[in-house]
């Protein structure tokens, strides 16, 4: 079971979560505008499908919220 650090929290995900696309689907965030950063590297949307997530990865998931 890979352990990830997502937005500062330790999160354990199933073995079936191999890629960023898998991870977003697992978290139920696959229908939203979401930007992913792994270990300080920001991913383009087209990279989600192939980018693997590994044990210990530090992942930031951000989106747009109301602001001025």
């Amino acid at each position: 079971m890979p352990d990830l650090i997502i937005n500062g929290d330790f999160v354990r995900v199933p073995e079936s979560v191999k890629t960023v696309t898998n991870l977003l689907a697992h978290l139920g965030l696959d229908r939203q505008v979401v930007v992913v950063e792994i270990n300080r590297n920001i991913l383009g949307k087209n990279e989600h499908k192939d980018k693997e997530v590994r044990n210990g990865d530090r992942i930031e998931l951000v989106h747009f919220v109301g602001g001025g």
Partner: protein, 255 residues
């Protein structure tokens, strides 16, 4: 027509999306405001609540140009990171540089703002820095090549209106890029005055989102900005110390 980098806009109102209490009211306010540019902030998602409502998903994104801000950044480096995250969404190429230097007044840090603007220009962003109303800072930003300068009317969310119209006028007179008065607008008359001074646009948020009736205030702001712009283009009369009669002084019928 308001031109910012490669983008052209009919509306001169830029509307923030923060602090609205109700998404439906917000959507209606956005609609009646006629705005074509919406600002957003970039924040961590709540991964435990995937169905959390998000305003961006309630509007037709293609109808608007998104202007994410770098709010939350305290340094140029942090601002650049937030800008990169925003751009990676694939939804926008503009960035409002917002580097707050003091949490009490929320005034922008001029040095970090300048540094961040320079770094983001190098990366190809369309850069719109939120600045104080310092005339020389606006000039230095312009010389860097920013696509618009956005001096504050007064501190963010203060609703104090334009506290230094002289500085704003000087910024506008010297500017070769659009000047958008950003922050501190409280009333439609504040927005109209900014436009009468010759501003190219006004960016506001709290004045609408915090109004008793945000939809009505959004319309008031739209009309005020249009009125102010028309007044500026029409050219005001000079001020005189004494009266100048509007009616003819001859031919008065007296019995």
């Amino acid at each position: 027509m308001l031109t910012i980098g490669p983008h052209e806009f009919q509306s001169r109102l830029l509307l923030g999306t923060g602090k609205f209490l109700d998404f439906n009211v917000q959507r209606e306010a956005v609609s009646v405001s006629g705005t074509q540019i919406l600002t957003f902030a970039v924040r961590r998602m709540n991964i435990y609540e995937p169905s959390q409502p998000n305003f961006l998903e309630m509007i037709d994104v293609k109808r608007f140009t998104l202007l994410p801000n770098t709010a939350g950044a305290r340094t140029a480096e942090e601002a650049v990171r937030i800008a990169r995250l925003a751009k990676a969404s694939g939804l926008c190429d503009m960035i409002k540089v917002e580097v707050i230097g003091d949490m009490k007044t929320l005034l922008p840090d001029p040095i970090e703002t300048l540094r961040a603007s320079e770094m983001l220009l190098e990366e190809g962003f369309i850069v719109l820095p939120y600045t104080s109303d310092d005339v020389l800072l606006a000039k230095r930003l312009q010389e860097l090549g920013v696509h618009a300068v956005m001096p504050g009317a007064s501190p963010i969310g203060s609703g104090q209106g334009i506290v230094n119209p002289l500085n704003l006028s000087l910024i506008i007179e010297q500017s070769t890029v659009p000047v958008i008065v950003d922050a501190g607008i409280g009333t439609p008359s504040d927005a109209a005055i900014a436009m009468e001074l010759g501003a190219d646009g006004v960016l506001l948020n709290s004045a609408v989102s915090g109004a008793k009736d945000p939809v009505k205030m959004a319309l008031a702001m739209k009309l005020a900005i249009e009125a102010g712009r028309l007044g500026y283009e029409a050219g005001r009369i000079p001020k005189k110390r004494c009266g100048a009669a509007s009616s003819p002084l001859e031919g008065i019928s007296v019995t």
